[in-house]
Structure formats: C-alpha cells, structure tokens
C-alpha cells in the first residue's frame, strides 16, 4: 500500500483533548442529573444573551459585517497556502521564528523543546483553545515544566482540578460560591476571610498571580488573528493577563491554528467589530494586543510562532464541513443552544463544546471518534442565527449525520421500513401490527430491543384506533 504523504490527516489519537471518554448521550445524562450545573448555566447564558443582543442592536450594519466576515474567511481558506507563506515571511522579517506542526504531538514537542532551550522550569499561559486542544499543559508537565494558567476562568479550572466547559469562559459551570470554595482550598496564601463577591474573587487572583507575572521568563499564548499581509498577531482579552504574558517575559511562544489567518490589516476592521459583541457582549473587550515579530526594547525579544494543522486540513477537505474552520471562537452558538444550556460543556467530551464543537470535533478526529456529537442538537437553528461569521451549523450537522456509521440493527430496520412503505399490502399489515403493539409493554410506546435506544428519549405517536384505509373502506 502506498500512502501519498500530502493527504489531509485527522488529529491523532492518544494526545490532546478532542475525544471524550463516553458518548454524548451517556455524558449528558450525568450532567442532566446535576441541578446546580443547570442553574449556573442558565443564569450565565441568559446574562450573556441579553448583553450581546443589546450591543449588536446598536450596530445598523451587523448583517453586512457578518456577510463580510463570512466571505473573508472563505477567501482565506481558498488562498491558505499563499497566505500562510506570506505570514511566515512577514513574521520572519520582523524578527520572529516560524515553526510548522503537522499535529498535536509535533506542536507539543516544538514548544517543549523551545522552553527547555531557555532553561526555564515555568511558563505563564494565556487562555488558548489551540494549546488546550493539543494537551500542551500535560506535555510540559511531563517534561518537568510547570504551566501556569493566568486567565481567571482557566485558573479556576486548574486550581479546581477540573475540565473547561465553555470556549470563552471555561469555568462557566461554577458559580461564585463554588469559585470561593476552590480559592479557599487551593490558592496558596489566600485570605481566609475571602467572600464570594466577584470583585473580591478577582482581586484574590490579582494578588496570587502578580509575582508570577513579574518573575516568569517564558509565556505561551494562542492567537485570535494572524494577519498575512503584515505578520501581525492579535490577542483579544479582558483581564490584562494577556498583556502581562505578551509584554513581561523574555520569550513568547504563540501556537496558532492555520485557520486563524486573516488576509489583510484592513480586514481586522470587520472581525474587531464582530468578535467582542458576539462573544462577551461588549462593544469592545477591555484589552486587545497586537504585535509584529519583535519590537526592539519593548516586550519579548524572542518570538516563536507555531502554525498548527492537527486535523484542520481534513476539515478543509470536506466541501460542506470546511465552513467550521471559519469559527472565530466567540462562543455565541453555545450561549444560545438549548442543548448546551442543559448539558453543559463537559458532555461533549472535546475542548470544543456546544454547536460548533459538534461540527468541529468530529471533523478534526474523523466522525468515527466522535460519532454521537452530530446528534447532540435539536437542529433548531439558533446557532446559525447567532454566528457572527454565518457558519451554517445545522446543515453541517445533518451532513455529518450522513457520515456516521450506523449500527447494523438500525440499518436493517430502516431497509425493512423502506421496503414495507414501497409495498401497499405490507404497509397496511404493518399499520395494523402497530396498533396491536400498543397493547404490549408497560408504556406500549417504546420499540423492542435493539431499537429501544431510539425510543428511550422520544415518545412515539399513539397509533390511531382506526387506520385511514379502514376508515376509507368503511365510509
């Protein structure tokens, strides 16, 4: 067998966080049994929907901006090789070093080696979906390097030995009193009289991380945008931990998915309007940092950019599904999703939860490894309406459902149903049988094994006492 080495490849198994331990329906059942989690999620998503709706309504050209954002991303994907090489050239010319990582394993090795070369034992990190996706923290720890998450929500997750459950706010499943408990038990030197007032909790994080910011010499970040035309990278944030990481250390290592590219500097005028309003529901997030290579005398004097594939080219190979790469990680689709609001993010198994995760994770890993996710949706379409770059998530979900390997019993039953519906006599007899089936079983509305999986979460319609054909004959 000969394999063409340039074939798009899925994200490898055994590394990173794109695959859950159990299928969505099982994980969701656990989550649904937790009323505190549902209250926390409902409170948070209701808050953000209100804020986001209000600031989006302030812009008379929101729909025009969405159309431009969508087209810019499609343009970027169509020109990806040229734009990536342009970015590499500009970053290099500005004093940075560009690395290419085919998958999570290679990216982790590149970053770990770069940190080792500095001789440092600790790195500070800005929240980054890409480094979470590849499991960079675990790789660094295996190499004896301590990664310190500096984003407040990430810190809550890290101190709580927990997993992130939201793209924007990884600790969305925790309320203020739970956060207080985590800080009291896990944060060294914390004030024992800590209250659960959010400003007090934020101040505790400020005190805790201040010295770490000032003494750590290496930072790892992601990137929201990488501009091919200028080699400029942008990180959008709120707290100032990003500014700390991008300014104070001697060495900065940025891991960026190849789809985060933006063609020209001018194009930022679209995304800087779309992202904050769709994401945190702000007219503008408190801080956005932009840097091009190395600025002499200002900020890190060593800059490395790691360009990451890890399954993205496999997504690109699917003409319908490739739209998932347009995602700017705002998380608006999570906040409007009736399924996410009830199950929370952990049920999705991947670092990318919610509607975008349900289309992105299976495409990054191959549908077989996340086969239940395309079904983790009611196809209500709220995610499509909320998406600032107009990703047609429902259509991609249906497209992926067609690729999911179906169990044999289901395929046999569907084939039998199709045959029956094609033959009027058989169909008539089946309808009568359905009426008789009503008398069977306690509820009389489920299907027998092995098809009971389908009917366990759905009510079958009650068969009428008389079929249409019987009624027609009798009139």
């Amino acid at each position: 067998m000969s394999t063409f080495l340039g074939m798009p490849a899925y994200a490898p198994r055994g590394v990173g966080h794109l695959r859950g331990d159990e299928p969505f329906p099982e994980a969701a059942r656990t989550a649904l049994a937790n009323p505190q989690l549902r209250r926390n999620l409902q409170h948070a998503t209701t808050t953000i929907r209100g804020k986001s709706g209000a600031v989006i309504a302030e812009l008379p050209d929101w729909q025009e901006l969405r159309s431009a954002g969508s087209a810019l991303k499609a343009y970027t994907m169509a020109n990806l090789p040229r734009l990536l090489e342009q970015l590499e050239e500009r970053v290099t010319a500005a004093g940075g070093v560009v690395h290419w990582a085919a998958d999570a394993t290679e990216a982790n090795r590149i970053v770990t080696d770069l940190v080792k070369a500095t001789g440092e034992q600790r790195v500070i990190k800005i929240k980054s979906m890409a480094t979470m996706e590849i499991g960079l923290n675990e790789a660094l720890e295996d190499a004896g390097i301590t990664p310190v998450e500096t984003d407040l929500a990430e810190l809550i997750v890290q101190l709580g030995h927990d997993k992130p459950s939201h793209i924007l706010v990884p600790a969305i499943h925790r309320n203020r009193s739970e956060i207080r408990e985590i800080f009291l038990s896990e944060m060294p030197g914390v004030d024992p009289d800590l209250t659960d007032d959010p400003p007090v909790l934020a101040a505790a994080a400020r005190r805790y991380l201040r010295e770490t910011f000032l003494s750590t010499k290496v930072a790892v970040s992601g990137a929201n945008f990488g501009i091919a035309e200028t080699g400029t990278l942008a990180v959008v944030e709120s707290e100032g931990n990003g500014r700390m990481c991008l300014t104070l250390p001697e060495t900065l290592i940025t891991v960026m998915g190849i789809e985060k590219l933006v063609p020209t500097w001018q194009d930022l005028e679209v995304f800087l309007q779309l992202l904050p309003r769709a994401s945190t529901g702000e007219r503008m997030n408190p801080y956005t940092s932009m840097w091009t290579g190395v600025a002499p005398g200002d900020g890190p004097q060593n800059f490395h950019l790691v360009l990451l594939d890890n399954g993205r080219t496999a997504v690109l190979a699917d003409e319908v599904g490739r739209q998932a790469l347009h995602c700017i990680r705002c998380s608006a689709c999570l906040n409007v999703c009736p399924v996410y609001e009830r199950t929370g993010g952990h049920a999705y198994g991947s670092v990318y939860p919610g509607p975008i995760g349900a289309i992105l994770s299976p495409q990054l890993t191959g549908v077989e490894d996340n086969a239940s996710l395309p079904y983790a949706s009611s196809l209500c379409g709220a995610c499509f309406d909320a998406c600032p770059v107009k990703i047609d998530i429902p259509s991609i979900l249906v497209h992926l459902r067609n690729q999911v390997p179906h169990p044999r019993a289901e395929r046999t039953a569907m084939a039998a149903a199709a045959y029956t519906m094609d033959h009027p006599k058989l169909y008539e007899r089946a309808q009568k049988a359905a009426r008789l089936a009503k008398l069977l079983g306690k509820r009389g509305r489920g299907l027998p094994p092995p098809l009971n999986g389908w009917s366990s979460s759905r009510d079958l319609p009650t068969p009428p006492s008389e079929t249409f054909r019987d009624w027609w004959r009798g009139r």
């Binding site: 808050t47 050209d61 499609a74 709120s238 707290e239 300014t247 001018q266 840097w291």
Partner: protein, 198 residues
C-alpha cells in the same frame, strides 16, 4: 519532507484544483463619520473609565494622583506634569520600579467613539507597553483631533507593525457568571483626560 511542505501539500490536496474564491462585500459602514465627543465620554464612562474634560492637563493630573508618584514615557510633554508630583521618566526602568509607581501618564494614538476605545502605539509619548500595564492607575491624555467615529477609521489610521494596545475601560473579567467585573491584572483605574483647548 518538512512539516511545512507536508501541511501545504495537505491543504492543496484538500482544496482541489480551483477552489471558489468569493468576492468580499464591504457594504458595512466605512469612511469618515462625524465625531461625537459626548458619545465617546458616555461610552468610556459606561465601561467604568473616569473622564475629565479640561484645558488644564497638569491641573487634572494633580487632582487625580494626589500625593502619589508617577512614571511617564520619555516623550511625554513636560508641561502636562504637575511640578509638585514626584515623576520618574522611563529611561529603561526595571519592572519593579514601574510597578512601584502609583500611576502612569501616557498620550494616545487614536480613540474610537463607537466602542469607547483608546489605542496606544508605543510612540515616545506613550512608551513601552510595560509602562502602561503595571501601575494600578493609568491616566491617558487624549486630544479631540485623535478621536474617530468607528473601528474601520481607527484601523486605517494605525501602523500595524508598531506594538498596539487597544484599551476599553479598566481591566475587567466576564469569567464569574458571565457578568463584567472590573479590576483584575491590568490597571484597575483608567482616567481619560480629554484635552479641550479653550
């Protein structure tokens, strides 16, 4: 085969021979629009910045800093500084020296009305990025002619290869129950002096 060649090969394979290349509809608002300074102030205040509209910059700074100490970038106009306030000019100060100051005064490159944003571009009157980051109080002096109405106008005026910091209110977080809370790692107090010469 290098990873670069591998990835570029995979992309070309994924895209096929002639991927559709869409036109980009830029019919959103661009171009210069009238600047409404009152709205700028409203937007700044909405995100918890304190705004001073005055022709007396040094007087305003003296009032804000009280008996505290200041660090300032090398090119900040000397006449902005109140004579009685202890000031250290950044001539390569250490992080600890910068962090020890009670406040920092900078100018700005551009400001955006619609979003209540000020942008610093590390020019001589704004300084290294670290300078406006570590002190807990940031005083930013803005001239009306630096203000634009919209984000596209600001993007057009900025030089992308300079280190840029877009600031919209003091440090904040939405990480606790998705509500905005001011005051995490960046300066917890942002004062904007809108310098309106009489």
């Amino acid at each position: 085969m290098s990873s670069k060649e591998l990835i570029l090969g995979r992309i070309r394979q994924a895209l096929g021979s002639s991927p559709a290349e869409p036109d980009i509809p830029r019919d959103y608002r661009t171009g210069a629009a009238p600047v409404d300074l009152d709205l700028l102030v409203e937007r700044l205040v909405d995100y918890k910045a304190v705004v001073h509209r005055t022709s007396d910059v040094s007087g305003a700074i003296a009032e804000i800093i009280g008996s505290g100490t200041l660090v300032v970038p090398p090119g900040l106009p000397g006449e902005w500084l109140p004579p009685e306030v202890p000031v250290r000019r950044d001539d390569g100060l250490s992080a600890a020296e910068i962090a020890a100051a009670d406040g920092v005064v900078t100018a700005a490159a551009v400001a955006v009305v619609e979003t209540g944003t000020i942008v610093l571009d590390a020019s001589d009157d704004q300084g290294r990025r670290i300078l406006s980051l570590l002190p807990d109080l940031h005083i930013c002096v803005l001239r009306p002619e630096q203000v634009v109405a919209s984000v596209p106008e600001a993007v057009a005026q900025l030089e992308p290869t300079r280190p840029l910091t877009w600031i919209s209110g003091p440090s904040a977080t939405s990480d606790i129950e998705l509500n905005r809370v001011e005051g995490v790692h960046g300066p917890r107090n942002l004062h904007v002096i809108l310098w309106e010469t009489a």
